[in-house]
Symmetry: C2
Subunit: 352 residues, 2 copies
DNA sequence: AGGTATGATTGGAACGTTCCAATAGGAACA
DNA sequence: TGTTCCTATTGGAACGTTCCAATCATACCT
């Protein structure tokens, strides 16, 4: 934790060239150099060449901070993700970055490794950097923090609704997704369907609620079984183990997300169960992980990359079109059937 | 591709408070506010409280650009990764960010989605931002670009050696790792060992060389089989398919990395082969993917997170301790045996 | 009471750009 | 040859901080 104060050694590394150095070498004024850099049309070809030559000779690079300071804008959007190890977040980040590039922005990513405090740090750093917009693909943050950020810069929250009046949000309908999952199992003949929950994030809670309501709707309320899990493989594994200690095993398991489902899968296979012959398994997010042929996990699809792109568009609208009222998009999730769901085994299926 | 020039609407969003606003509200000078922000000890408690109160009331946040401009330092390190979807890169990024936080720095991530041009853009943006250091966990970049960056700021290259005299590098011994993989197969009794190569990145080439040399060393040179693959699952899958078209199948496959191995796994399983009964499979990087119990891929371990941390340390040494001579660390990879390697099937094993 | 040491506070310069109003240098015209 | 009108070029102010030297206040000592 030693944070040295001021012992930076600049020795050896020469001062970086500035616009003045370029101007001197090219024999023009700093203003003209600035014009060349910004691609102003009305610079004579001769001077332009001289300037470009000087820029090249000096390995000059404009200082984004100085520029940002006077322009009061950075053309940077910050992306905060809670967990880089969740492939869904990568899809989102990738979508944001692609669209940002398309719109003349740069996207920078910061992550918090699922720690609340580092998440707020990440947001704070971006705000101090004066990013033009902020995309939060993170579950841990509370509304107060979001609101605070939102007072400073356009903010889009991904994956959870927000009550903040000046913040856009982009979510999938988690309750609906959970209902689709349950429905799929029911349609295959399952009646004993368990849920490995995702913890206390908003998304996880909605999925749980969706599961419970759907079970109720199908008259299976008293068959509902929820065990604690989480959004990581390890937590899913624990949830799966927990499930195995129960008196009677379910014939299908709906896991909070794909990572969690993989964990459950491990636990079940370890116990000698075969998926989907003995137990069906369904995840959420339809990440690249679920799509791995070797895993081939039935999952609820959420278009992460598209959502990332859309989030960037929403920021753009606020920045360039001056939109001020909040938008809240809810995307309908869909079912992707792969190899981990099937009809329940005979004896179990007819039992209920 | 429409990049609007200047139609930014600031309407509605008020000008952000500056240090002067805080000073006015607190009834002190800007300098005193600055001192409070930087935690200077010799501010009287009364004034400090007044300043903190004003900061809070105004939702003031120091402008990192203005600060960076005068301090000529940002306390930011840039991390460029070629592919966020490769879990190995996440480990690296995570390691860098953790250690950066520890040392009082912030790490920001940019990615290029495996496109050469966007990779150079990412580097260029970071340099314009005047990051204090740059960590390149990317394969595509050429030495010229690295050298250029290195002239401006300390650079650590990860995962490949570099000839640039002023750039540190941190790699694992890919040739050795490949040799370990081959050795492992040989020790299990395999003689017909194929390699699904990783393309033209430096790391991939070294692994291939390592494979070829090892095969030679074991007197299996004429049994060498290399098919084209890549560092992604899709390319691995193609490599696996390609392998299947060959006259005789190998009894073991060494894939360029874990992602590639998963692709190969898919292709082989799809063809009705059982791993490791019919064919053994070994990957590289020992990512979280390989560790998934359901996958349980034998792999060559490379400590991504540690390497990320070490990379950050190397930057720190240059920034704070003025080190100028280049360091090149080579880490010894190790074998992690899981469930995808076993003795070859009888008939094949005895055939050679 | 006067001098001095100590500590808190302040104003100004600098960081490296962009933006804008002002200027210079022609060309075109009378 | 002088006036007008362009167009290319320039200098100065501003952006929001930090740093430093200078100032102010207070207490202490003789």
């Amino acid at each position: 934790m030693a944070i040295p104060e001021d012992d930076v050694k600049t020795s050896g590394r020469h001062r970086k060239p500035t616009i003045f150095d370029v101007a001197r070498l090219a024999g023009v004024s700093k203003s003209l150099v600035s014009m060349v850099i910004r691609g102003d049309e009305r610079v004579s070809p001769a001077r332009r060449d001289a300037v470009l030559q000087a820029i090249n000779d000096l390995n000059y690079r404009p200082n984004a901070m100085a520029r940002g300071l006077v322009q009061r804008r950075t053309r940077i959007v910050g992306v905060v993700v809670s967990d880089l190890r969740n492939p869904f977040n990568e899809d989102v980040a990738s979508g944001v970055l692609t669209q940002a590039a398309e719109l003349g922005y740069k996207g920078l990513i910061n992550t918090s490794d699922r720690q609340r405090e580092r998440e707020e740090d990440a947001i704070e750093s971006f705000l101090e950097l004066r990013v033009d917009g902020l995309i939060l693909a993170t579950s841990r943050i509370d509304d107060r923090t979001i609101g605070r950020a939102s007072r400073a810069v356009p903010v889009v929250v991904l994956g959870r609704p927000t009550s903040d009046v000046s913040t856009d949000s982009l979510t999938n309908d988690n309750e609906m997704g959970a209902a689709i999952a349950v429905e799929h199992c029911v349609s295959l003949g399952h009646r004993s369907i368990a849920h490995v929950a995702g913890g206390d994030s908003t998304a996880a809670r909605s999925r749980r609620t969706g599961y419970e309501r759907a079970m109720e709707r199908f008259g299976l309320a008293e068959r509902s079984t929820v065990v604690d899990g989480g959004f990581t493989e390890a937590e899913g594994y624990r949830g799966g183990r927990e499930l195995l200690t129960r008196r009677s095993l379910p014939t299908a398991v709906f896991a909070a997300n794909d990572l969690c489902a993989i964990g459950v899968l491990n636990a079940l296979e370890e116990a000698g169960l075969s998926i989907p012959r003995d137990i069906s398994l369904i995840g959420y997010d339809n990440t690249s992980l679920a799509a791995l042929r070797h895993v081939s996990l039935t999952s609820i699809h959420q278009p992460g990359e598209d959502m990332g792109r859309k989030a960037m568009d929403l920021l753009f609208e606020r920045i360039h079109e001056g939109r001020t009222e909040a938008r809240h998009y809810v995307i309908a999730p869909s079912l992707v059937v792969r190899s981990t769901t099937a009809a329940p085994p005979r004896e179990a299926g007819s039992e209920g």
